[in-house]
Symmetry: D2
Subunit: 480 residues, 4 copies
């Protein structure tokens, strides 16, 4: 079987010699850097749970490409059940990783598959075969892919070719016999560094004048000219400290990546100037990712609900009717997000390529909901948890012999909950709301799977407003 | 084929000699009463669209019971696709009827089917066979069923047997050789009068002392002792006037029904004292009805979106970005409701009886959402529509020759929209928000498919809070 | 004292020979028309409570203009306490009239006062003296004023002079020696018919080319060429029936009004082409009316809270913690609206004319809040009230001897609440949400005191964003 | 004049020898500890701005107690304008400190003043004179007070005397001739360490059996037996790093404080067993603090609005209508919070002691609003800011010569905004939402001025529900 273990993954990543800066220093290999530890721990869950008998069926799939059992998150779905499994899988992974992103992003693999097919059909290119070749390689070696789309963008009112600096969107600066040279930057790269391969696509609708910006390709992450710089994440240095204070040993990690005149051989180029496909391409990426997000956020909510219910229990308030009502609200919000993701999956359609695509309206509605409900869930969690969420002592003070006895006495809860249990549980919630893992919560609205407003516009674009108007006119007697 | 047309339905209802009071008068037959016209028009849609080639496949099904093609809304679903069809069907029917309830309620038929099966299995009774007999009769004759559950309830803090008046919940007052005699009232009966048969079930969880209140049965609507009294609905007398002012020629109708010592033969009794099944029974009714409601409310929202978009167009504002953004919000809310209903359908399970049951958490979450989104949709519609919504003249004034020219001049819209078109469109929206059909909007929260709080409690009951707590404890390091 | 009684008001209105159409008929005098009865009852509260020793101090004021005691709602405020009294007064009036509009609109009297002063100061005109003359007449005779602003507007993307029909905004069609002739329509006129005088101002910002549309004046309501047409309001014909079914004997009433070449003498003209003052004029109208609305809506909410708490009590649920929590939410929303109105009043400023003006940002924020909270309050009321809200029988059925006993039995509540008490209370709530008085609820967002979006834009216009940006830049170290 | 400068404050705090643990270490004096620096910077603003000619009038007051000019935030208000000034002052301080808490808490000084007066009047005690003596000392020396109320509380369903451990609420363990000895802990102490004096009051309603827990007093912060332990705050160690990465050089700080058998002399005891005053005491604390919070949160929102508008400008989107609409929403929310605080201040009442008290309902409504609006404001800020908020590089990487040029190129914005400007602005927003200062945002709901639910219950307690019910009954015709 092609599926790696977590340990195997780390060994394979150790061989990728990517250029990586963090905290002002260039580090030789990121896998041993303490601040990356939590992120790798989350990523490894993807791999290890696929070997766990309880979850193997959910997390693996038969690839039509390699005719092998591959990891679910690198497989191309061909029917609704495949997409539904994906949404269930990401919910599970969030539950197991304390609501963090396990950073294996299958979503773009599929639209890249279908759009290259469509381009080839229309223009007689051979992108799809190239792409399948590459994807087979990914599946066989069970690789981590860093899919990149977002460019710096400069002035948002200007198109790529209108920017004062021509590099504000990644572009082709040279076309050679053996390949192309690209320049630019990709921002907000979850899982940027912990990857074997990059998969790059353009970030917005392009016009003919933007042709040089319409470029898609895949290359190894340690290709010359690629530079990764770690983002600073909230409370990141607690990763050095470990222990209770980091709240959750799992985490995620993001990068900025510069592409300083990077060479891409033709066999890895999947788009090169076909601007007319850019709207459909973006729609497809958005649809896939936004549908999946319903599952992610439900899983994150599950953890928050579990923590909140536990903290209420520690206060002796687990049967308080107001608190139960609020927890019921948290559940409703979680399941609403899940339902939208699922409905988008169940009601998708097959593309010409054979890859299955989620329902566009429902996928974008999923994004709208994950742009709001998580905050409301977090607010209720905060409300029920109470003030200790904001005033937890450090583990070092807690364990200081001068103080330990006092902490054990005063911080104990109802029903024999010890001070340490409470402290751990509060620290986990803290990490989700404003600690080490808070990025995962707060990025739901603006950036996860594109912005809120991008989803809004997509809904406007595809909803059958004309049909609804016509139906209203018939009822009102304005039309026959 | 067993399926009636609308005309056939009305003929058959004409033969039902139910006792009916409206406006202080006892009327001989309701089908000719002008105030009931709109409601019958909605109900007939159920029947007529099942004969429309465009919708016949959606609205019909093969009954395993009668081995005939029957109306979808009297069939027992045996898999997820059957439930999904139901949700699609109710959305369609709302779209076609201008957001009104077409009042054919299949939801209770299914839990009645499965619970009678379970009771028989456990207690050796023969309720299920009786029920199937009756249901076959319903399917073959394509009957309208008035399913009743809600009792007056008196003091809500007291159980049925604790009430000062023993009749505040419908109960068995006599058991005879040939049947039972029941007394009580059923409130809030959508489609109370336009029915061939009653199907009665208890309204709440009962204890052993409440045994006499645990009774289920079916009888013809014109059985002796049954009295229907019409509710007064908003702007009901505009039904007499017809025309533009009623806003929408479709509508729905509700009744209060008294059961003054009504005899029920044993072959029509489906429960008689089995109090221990009451919680499960209620859960099942709730689940079915709450899942379906997601479809209903999405359909109603579709109409409101269509009206709103048309009114914006009449103002020349169809491309205004703020208005488009608001309409996108309406669509999101509509589709979220639909998604929850669908997800509940897709992720249900088969009961022992073979009938398919929706997912309990998702069905109840659907109810939570339909308790809120419709108001927000209506608020946005109101916001975009503008003040004319509240100040429309009567059709009679509009057509008065003294005034007509002025109205035509001043009420015309952008892009050649005539005053009459605008007036009609506003009147339709008015009917939905505070006119003839406003009941359908405002009852979403408290009473449609049980109260908001009933859904909240059901979520609390079934959600796996223990599992979520355990998962949180593992992540936090409190449990191993 | 100049203050009329309710009876005196009606007598004086009887003498106003306004042209009025309702239900397709021209009626001679509206004061005896049964459908206007409820509206007059609300209006009379303004007058009668000013004579009630308990409220006289609140509802009267010393006019600097007439040097007499006049009704509060025709007086020009000169300090914050005057505005605060107004907000308290409208809250009281809503409480006493069951949440209906008592339709005495002082708000426009003040900006008309201050803007005419400013125009005169700048342009040497004599509008302010004319206006004071007229206002003194109003105060001395304690008249009802129908202030009109909203025009039909046609295509909203076009300015008045760009419309295909030049009359879509009211305009001067002729200037004569003795006065001007105007043509146009005024829409959405609460209190249109029950007025002695019209006070007309333009409805939007105008440019130089729109000069003919910049016209303000006052004339008697029965001036030749003025035609009033009654709006159809929800359940309006229940006003004929009276009794329990109308829910509330108080109400409000709105009109469309046509100005078919109406003559206005110069001494009653207050603006005539001064387009450059139109933005400030609109801002001032908006500010006054939007601040006041905080009080109105709090009063309406008080009634809804009272009804809801009573209905909960009738169900035996007055001590249920979830219900108490929901009622607390209703109170919060009500008081938030009140607080915004009050804060706008307390933190206003004196205009050059001496008239006191509310704070612009807070007044517009008040409008934003009254565009949302009332719906949420109504939703909670609906939720707690339960299904009977939608299925109340008619009073005639209730009193039918065939049925009365049954109703008395089954509709009685906990704690000796009789069926009639419950029916009355439900009917009151019904009238507010989708019955006779529902206009007052649903018009809060779009039209009361201008649209939601108008308030949004006004906030944008006046908020000191530059100052906030500068402060942020200093903190961030971007500016020194 | 009694008012210290910031520098003077720090000098005086240096002399306070409080016991303080942070990061597992006992530190000799907190004023030099780098992690406390930001908090002291915020606190000093209180002092320094009172010397700034622009703000001196706002931030100082004439004390009736000392007959001197004192700092506004240690003065007892005697009329509405004094409370209004307080709310304006805290808004200003938040604006100037980047939305952080400047931690000078006048709110409890006032209810302590008025309740000791009331106790003395009723019971003939001499608490009020003692308290005035102490307060005069505070005013003359312009001291920082750490007001403490919240106890650990253990099982929340049990009263203090019912807890398994008798010390879960602070209590009198010994009464001596010269004073009392107390034991317990106080949690969530904003400004715990940076204080000259403690002022302690009980945290909940007490019964007669809880008499030993009803104790109020003031003592120097370095009294023997008092132990402070620093909370770990989000990204706290960035305070060591300083620079751009901490986002905002201002901050706040919280502690847990143990009282290990601490002696309090009688002249500093202000309550000792008078349990019957505990409900009123708590109400008064809540009212004052909750009203003030309206100002705080408006100020914090001002900063967030300024940052957001600047970031939109950096993207070239400052005139985008959707973004302007969203910013208008942020302003509405900010001003609504402010309005509730102001309205509570304007509509308060004078207590018997002469101290002025805010309106209870409005103060608690203020809390309800600050429990929700700040999250919505933060969500919109996040939405508009975009993904860079989550992926900012460290300052060290930004300044690394290998990378600097690239960052300057790719992170520059529209209209000549430099990469560093953008980075600084994003870092400020990051600090507010999930960085160094995120505590100030997220604690709004659960703990600031008591919990959300505490405010709910207080509203329930004081709102005149009976009056509202009666008014409804009169309208409905149920009562005369």
């Amino acid at each position: 079987m092609a599926i790696k273990t977590g340990a195997g993954l780390i060994e394979s990543l150790r061989k990728v010699k990517s250029v990586f800066y963090i905290g002002g220093e260039k580090v030789d290999n990121f896998v041993d850097h303490p601040i990356i530890k939590a992120s790798l721990k989350s990523i490894c869950l993807n791999y290890d749970l696929a070997h766990d008998p309880e979850y193997a069926e959910l997390l693996t799939a038969d690839s039509p490409l390699t005719r092998e059992k591959v990891h679910l998150l690198v497989n191309i779905p061909t029917g609704p059940e495949d997409l539904v499994k994906r949404i269930e899988a990401v919910r599970l992974l969030q539950q197991k990783s304390g609501g963090t992103c396990t950073q294996r992003n299958v979503d773009p693999l599929v639209p890249a598959y279908s759009i290259t097919y469509d381009i080839d059909q229309e223009l007689g290119t051979e992108y799809h075969e190239r792409y399948k070749e590459w994807l087979g390689h990914v599946q066989k070696n069970d690789l981590m892919i860093n899919f990149s789309i977002t460019d710096p963008k400069g002035d948002r009112t200007l198109r790529p070719h209108e920017q004062s600096d021509p590099d504000m969107y990644l572009r082709i600066v040279e076309k050679r016999k053996d390949g192309i040279v690209v320049r630019g930057a990709k921002c907000h790269q979850t899982n940027g560094i912990a990857s074997h391969e990059k998969l790059i696509f353009p970030t917005r609708t392009m016009t003919e004048k933007d042709k040089d910006y319409v470029v898609a390709f895949a290359i190894p992450s340690d290709t010359k000219g690629i530079v990764h710089i770690s983002a600073r994440l909230p409370s990141d240095t607690r990763r050095y400290e470990g222990g209770i204070d980091q709240g959750n040993p799992f985490g995620s990690h993001t990068c900025t990546i510069f592409y300083n005149d990077v060479f891409v051989p033709w066999e890895r180029v999947f788009m090169c100037g076909e601007y007319q496909f850019s709207p459909e391409l973006l729609k497809r990426f958005g649809d896939h990712h936004r549908a999946t997000y319903g599952g992610c956020n439900a899983g994150k909510a599950d953890v928050m609900i579990g923590v909140t219910a536990t903290l209420a229990e520690y206060n002796g308030l687990d049967n308080n009717s107001i608190i139960r009502d609020k927890i019921s609200e948290m559940v409703s919000s979680a399941e609403t997000m899940f339902a939208c993701g699922l409905a988008a999956a169940y009601r998708g359609y097959k593309t010409e390529s054979g890859a299955y695509h989620p329902n566009t309206v429902l996928a974008n509605v999923s994004k709208i909901n994950i742009s709001r409900f998580p905050y409301e869930i977090a607010r209720i969690a905060t409300d029920i948890a109470g003030g200790l969420l904001f005033t937890l002592p450090s583990e070092k003070d807690f364990r200081n012999p001068d103080l330990h006895e006092n902490f054990m006495k005063y911080f104990k809860g109802a029903k024999n909950a010890s001070a340490e249990e409470r402290l751990r549980m509060f620290s986990l919630l803290q990490s989700m709301i404003f600690g080490c893992n808070a990025v995962d919560l707060h990025a739901s609205c603006p950036s996860a799977a594109g912005s809120f407003q991008a989803a809004r516009l997509q809904i406007n674009r595809v909803v059958d407003l004309k049909g609804k108007k016509r139906a209203a006119k018939i009822i009102a007697g304005v039309e026959g």
